[in-house]
């Protein structure tokens, strides 16, 4: 490890390593620090992505694909099954292999990746405030108060723990790719706290010995199954499945996610062998308002770059990483930190505005009682089969739910 890099990226998930790949490919010196001993482990994820969004960001390697999904089944609280045509297909990934390969691609582009490095603070460029140690800055230091500040922004690097030893490394730009549990942004003075109602708290199991169609993903809805969220069953081939549940933090107050998952698996897959059980959290909110604060940049779950309706964050986090990586490379090349601001603009244009819409839809759908969800399912099933597209489902929901119409009016400005 060198004492100083152009870019330090905290976290080696898909967003962090994609950011590393794009920044390094354009000539920046990049260091990625991962707190765990292994990249991509444990897998805290449903692992499903759409083919189009993944293809748009990385050439697909067949080794990443556990199953190719042609059918999406939405199951209403009373068991009505709607299978809308989504006009595309999806993959269930093997994230252990996928994340590893993304890290390898970053390294091949010139980045350095180090595991077991737990970043515990930002280093302040101003020696006086640096003495405060881990305190979150109450107020921003005045910009340009020292030559160092003017040159490189308010933070000059990070401190991290490696095998119980505290070390430091310097970087001109620091990227927070530290996931749902992100703290780096907070240390830079950005409010990244996820509201309880937007935190989808998840329990997930990988099970084997199950009989499933290998091309169908199932989503279960309902207050008894997954309040303010959904339960998923995604096939992984070879009689295996990724089964999990995500519920809003508000619902988790009463009953934790793991209890919903255990009950479902006991009923639906009584003979399954559970190979892994993990917990997880997904920040199903709109994007964090400040993506760039001086020389600190947020990407991925740390920036809440998650589709708030589906909870999917693999490809959107990678797109965030890519856009950030490109802006960072440009800022380094031109020696102008203000070029970092291209990243939030570009993010908003490509994805952020869409996520705002999905967030409003989520807020409306969350309010639906079970009877409404059943009603929508029943009415969709009355449609001709070729009309059961995602828009067919949506139009049916709109017709039956004035609340959703109002949300759409607000969202699209339709009058």
């Amino acid at each position: 490890m060198k004492p100083r890099y152009d870019v330090i990226i905290v976290g080696a998930g898909p967003a962090g390593t994609t950011c590393a790949r794009y920044a390094a490919a354009r000539g920046a010196s990049v260091l990625v620090l991962e707190k765990d001993r292994d990249v991509g482990m444990p897998v805290r994820c449903g692992e499903a992505v759409s083919n189009r969004s993944l293809e748009s960001i990385v050439p697909i390697d067949p080794r990443w694909i556990a199953a190719t999904i042609k059918r999406f089944r939405l199951i209403s609280p009373s068991g009505h099954i709607v299978e809308p045509d989504l006009g595309g297909y999806g993959y269930v990934l093997e994230r252990r292999i996928f994340d590893y390969d993304l890290a390898r691609l970053a390294v091949e582009a010139g980045a350095e990746v180090h595991t077991k490095c737990y970043v515990d603070d930002l280093l302040r460029a101003t020696p006086a405030s640096h003495a405060e140690g881990k305190a979150i800055p109450a107020t921003d230091p005045a910009p340009g108060t020292t030559a160092d500040n003017a040159q490189d922004g308010a933070w000059k690097g990070v401190s991290y723990q490696w095998k119980g030893e505290r070390r430091t490394v310097e970087g001109r730009i620091i990227v927070a790719a530290d996931g749902v549990e992100s703290r780096v942004g907070k240390w830079a003075g950005i409010d990244t706290t996820t509201h309880m109602r937007d935190m989808e708290t998840c329990a997930q199991m990988t099970i084997s010995n199950v009989d499933l169609e290998d091309d169908a993903c199932e989503f279960y809805f309902g207050n008894d199954t997954a309040p303010m969220g959904y339960l998923w069953v995604f096939p992984k081939g070879h009689g295996m499945a990724n089964v999990g549940v995500g519920i809003s933090g508000m619902a988790s107050k009463k009953t934790a996610a793991i209890r919903y998952l255990r009950r479902f698996i006991d009923q639906r897959f009584p003979d399954a062998a559970v190979l892994t059980t993990v917990a997880g959290g997904v920040p199903c909110a709109t994007t964090v308002g400040t993506l760039v604060q001086r020389n600190v940049v947020l990407v991925g779950d740390a920036a809440h770059q998650v589709n708030p309706l589906s909870g999917g964050g693999i490809t959107s986090g990678m797109i965030g990483g890519k856009l950030a990586g490109e802006a960072i490379a440009m800022a380094i090349e031109k020696n102008d930190l203000s070029l970092l601001n291209n990243y939030p603009k570009q993010w908003r244009k490509e994805i952020g505005a869409k996520h705002d819409t999905y967030y409003r839809m989520k807020a409306a759908v969350y309010k639906f009682p079970d009877a409404t969800l059943d009603d929508i399912a029943i009415n969709v099933l009355k449609l001709r089969e070729d009309k059961r597209t995602i828009w067919g489902v949506f139009r049916t929901a709109l017709r039956h739910q004035p609340a959703l119409v109002w949300e759409m009016v607000k969202t699209f400005g339709l009058k």
Binding site: Y118, R183, T193, T201, S252, V278
Partner: protein, 75 residues
């Protein structure tokens, strides 16, 4: 006074609690979690979002004597 307790040897280190903590009062490493007592306001958001019910809120009258987090779980 800290009223939040972390059940020993039960945490999966997923980070849900850290994500909702408004005070940046939770330290989470690969396989180590602890609450920074000086920052914690006992708001209990971490308790509510925990997918595995690993965080517990001890109401003051029911609180056990001494430290509410077992020695193994603190630094």
């Amino acid at each position: 006074m800290l009223l939040i307790e972390i059940k020993p040897n039960s945490c999966d280190f997923c980070g849900c609690c850290v994500g909702v903590c408004p005070e940046d009062a939770i330290e989470l490493q690969e396989a180590h979690i602890s609450i920074i007592e000086e920052r914690c306001t006992n708001c209990a958001k971490c308790v509510w979002v925990c997918p595995f019910e690993v965080l517990l809120f001890n109401k003051p009258e029911k609180r056990r004597s001494g430290a509410s987090v077992s020695p193994e779980e603190t630094r």
